[in-house]
Amino acid sequence: MNDIAPTQAERAEKLQGLGCKRKRVEDIRFTQGRGNYVDDVKLPGMLFGDFVRSSHAHARIKSIDTSKALALPGVKAVLTAADLKPLKLHYMPTLAGDVAAVLADEKVLFQNQEIAFVVAEDRYIAADAIELVEVEYEALPVVVDPFQAMAPDAPILRDDIKDKMNGAHGPRKHYNHIFNWQVGDKQATDEVFKAAEVTTKDLFVYQRTHPAPLETCQCVASMDKVKGELTVWGTFQAPHVVRTVVSILSGIAEHKVHVIAPDIGGGFGNKVGVYPGYVCAIVASIVLGVPVKWVEDRMENLSTTSFARDYHMATELAATKEGKILAMRVHMLADHGAFDACANPSKLPAGFVNICTGSYDIPVAHLEVDGVYTNKATGGVAYRCSLRVTEGIYAIERAIEVLAKKLGMDSVDLRMKNLIKAEQFPYRSALGWEYDSGNYHVALQKALDAVGYPALRVEQKARQEAFRRGETRELMGIGVCFFTEIVGAGPSRHCDILGVGMFDSAEIRVHPTGSIVARMGTKSQGQAHETTYAQIIATELGIPADDITIEEGDTDTAPYGLGTYGSRSTPVAGAATAMAARKIRAKAQMIAAHLLEVSEYDLEWDVDRFTVKGLPEKFKTMKEIAWAAHNNLPPGLEPGLEAVNYYDPPNMTYPFGAYFCVMDIDIDTGVAKTRRFYALDDCGTRINPMIIEGQVHGGLTEAFAIAMGQEISYDAQGNVMGASFMDFFLPTAVETPKWETDFTVTPSPHHPIGAKGVGESPNVGGVPCFSNAVNDAFAFLDAGHIQMPHDGWRLWTVAERLGLHA
């Protein structure tokens, strides 16, 4: 009867499971303009909120006059700190254990800080009303430099905590100090440095930048006073956490708060936090009893809701003359702005920046981070970098280059000499992480072969000689980066958000006819979860991915999870998905045994069915089993076929990669052209190679933007200088280099399907690779470390400083 039965391979292909370049499910609606983003939500009677913002970076508010605004037809309310104070909502707790002002209370601490929230019938009237609110300020001295913030005579920024010398992370050294965080063995490290043959020390500044997703942060809050229930649609990367926070802040029981994250137009870390706009829209809806929408504009987005980096990293390496690295010592000054609203696990005030020993076997290390307040925007999110990993990897990958130059070695040889060897995994780093797996030498060698590395160095040498002879005005730079990521936050022993462990979840329901709906605690912002989670289930359960619907983002229906950021969806919720599917498969095996009248131990799993061992013609498909689960079960077994799994990962995952960049810099214009960029990524088991490649392209483009031009800068008065797309560099298709991608596969030993996550690797590896290329171009002229961003103007000034224009 099975003469024309499809082969195993044919059946597997039909599933579109793991490893398939499955086309994205999401695209069907997005290409037709049928996405449903927050600003598309329109409710009857909905009002529109907008902010009056501070023109000063540091000032006392002497008075706020809202009378003219309130008199404007169509204006329904104007909220100020005075209105929120009785509700104790003028401040809100931050993820970092600090508080942040919702509406400025007596004083403003950064430019564009929220002062009043105007609620009106439409967004035009709200914009008019903002202009009518009169705020009188008394200007105060401004601090934008984190080094100056710690000076003995620096102005006091946070009046609210100036006498509280014990912060959320221990003692504070100064009224503008937030925390001091130390990891590693200081004494042993200092001793190695004292005796070392070769040492390096540089200050690497990772400038302030911003994730700038194309859709800004926004929400619609709708209080149903009759039912006593609040519904909030918002751009939330972590909707369940938002529900918990909203419940705690509002006093509305959690089951009466419905948080919905619909389609999200990019996140990159920007949409993890809770912002004053959300709180004010919710308060306004509760007070007025009608829905209130808040949508930030681009200037508000770039200047208020989160920033990234602003790390000032004094980085030292100690090594032998032969190039064996003996120790690393780093001091980082972290500028967290006016409030510490950094998005990190509660116990880790600088995230995973202690990954800064990178991919190298460094026996001893010490890291110290001091967080400080300045008159700059608050936030401190992981802009596509898994919680401060990109800062740490930038430090080590620049330091390696500096050390190689000092030793007179090729930096690739220095890396090869110090990379952690395959047999050393699992590897315990000097700063406390246990790297789960890696095969670094193989990956680096593959990359070297692919780019023809020796020939590039020969060409570079020839070009340098031609440059010295005056035959060319271009400098050739070769950027190298070997990075290790740390993602999948995370094991609840290390990681929690406001006390909630950073597990994640999946719930799978098989319907009687064999199709599936599955829901996760994460939330895609473009990563295509609807496509890829279905592939995991397809392979685990033998049901075609096209018959599986994935839903996320509705806290009423999805199981509790900590959301999507830090490349955690695949490592954590992806693991939960596989584990929940395995529970279903175990039950299906019992049902199949019953149907086939054999012992379940006599069955084996075969792509989409259970087959009696040795009798391949005797089988039951998962589809048949699904039907039986609803009508023909072994005695005593409960009906139905569904499972839920909450997955607390045993460890983080550690993707890695080897990147190469070839760049030509015109010293007369400062313009840098990327001739070639090659990225080899190892993210373990590959779920959908098409989507991985897309993630790498996007991450590299963001890395290119950060390294080559992005900066949110401030003048001495605290005026934010880069808060529009005119000033803040987002590359177009013209500037963006072409990307070559490649891979190796080293599965994670502790993840159910061996997957590690990939979305942030290209940002972590890409930024140092570009910066190394620029620095490498100028290195033969002894330029010293050149700070990012490497835009045309700055590169021209480097050439000018070196006397190349004479």
Binding site: T31, G35, L214, R298, G698, E702, T732, A733, T736
Partner: protein, 166 residues
């Protein structure tokens, strides 16, 4: 504020409305007509998420008053598929070549590519890159958007799509 009468054709359908003179075209499309496929990303004409086709030109609808579009023929993403639901070659191309991720820039990107291919049915890669340089994408790095447009061009021209060697 007194209102102004406007009349235009949107996706082949006659539309009449009373609008405030200061109403932006993008708000009119999204909020009055419910055509929410056109997006707002920057408010300053840089990102192109709001790109629509107006009288056979690409325009950024966040920087145009509705009254300026009075009498115009406008095409938005909602009007790209055929009445029977068959997708436009660009809509198909963006899916086949993985030319989108979060989807927020996609409608504007497709509308711009549509006009580009009308102006230049067989563009080179550089011409595509320059032709879409008024539209920003934060997710894809553009490489697959270029391929998506090449795929669509081939389909419209009735030739097989061949991926360029890299």
């Amino acid at each position: 504020m007194s209102k102004v009468h406007v009349k235009m054709t949107i996706n082949g359908r006659e539309v009449e409305a009373l609008v405030e003179p200061r109403t932006l075209l993008v708000h009119f499309l999204r909020e009055q007509l419910g055509l929410t496929g056109t997006h707002i990303g920057c408010d300053t004409s840089h990102c192109g998420a709001c790109t629509v086709d107006l009288n056979e030109m690409s325009v950024k609808s966040c920087t145009l008053f509705v009254v300026q579009a009075n009498g115009a023929a406008i095409l938005t993403i909602e009007g790209m598929a055929a009445p029977d639901g068959t997708l436009h070659a660009l809509q198909e191309g963006f899916r086949q070549m993985h030319g989108l991720q979060c989807g927020y820039c996609t409608p504007g990107m497709i509308m711009r590519a549509h006009r580009l291919l009308k102006e230049n049915p067989n563009p080179s890669e550089d011409e595509i890159r320059s032709g879409i340089s008024g539209n920003l994408c934060r997710c894809t790095g553009y490489q697959n958007i270029v391929k998506s447009i090449q795929y669509a061009a081939a389909k419209i021209n009735g030739v097989p799509y061949q991926e360029a060697a890299e």
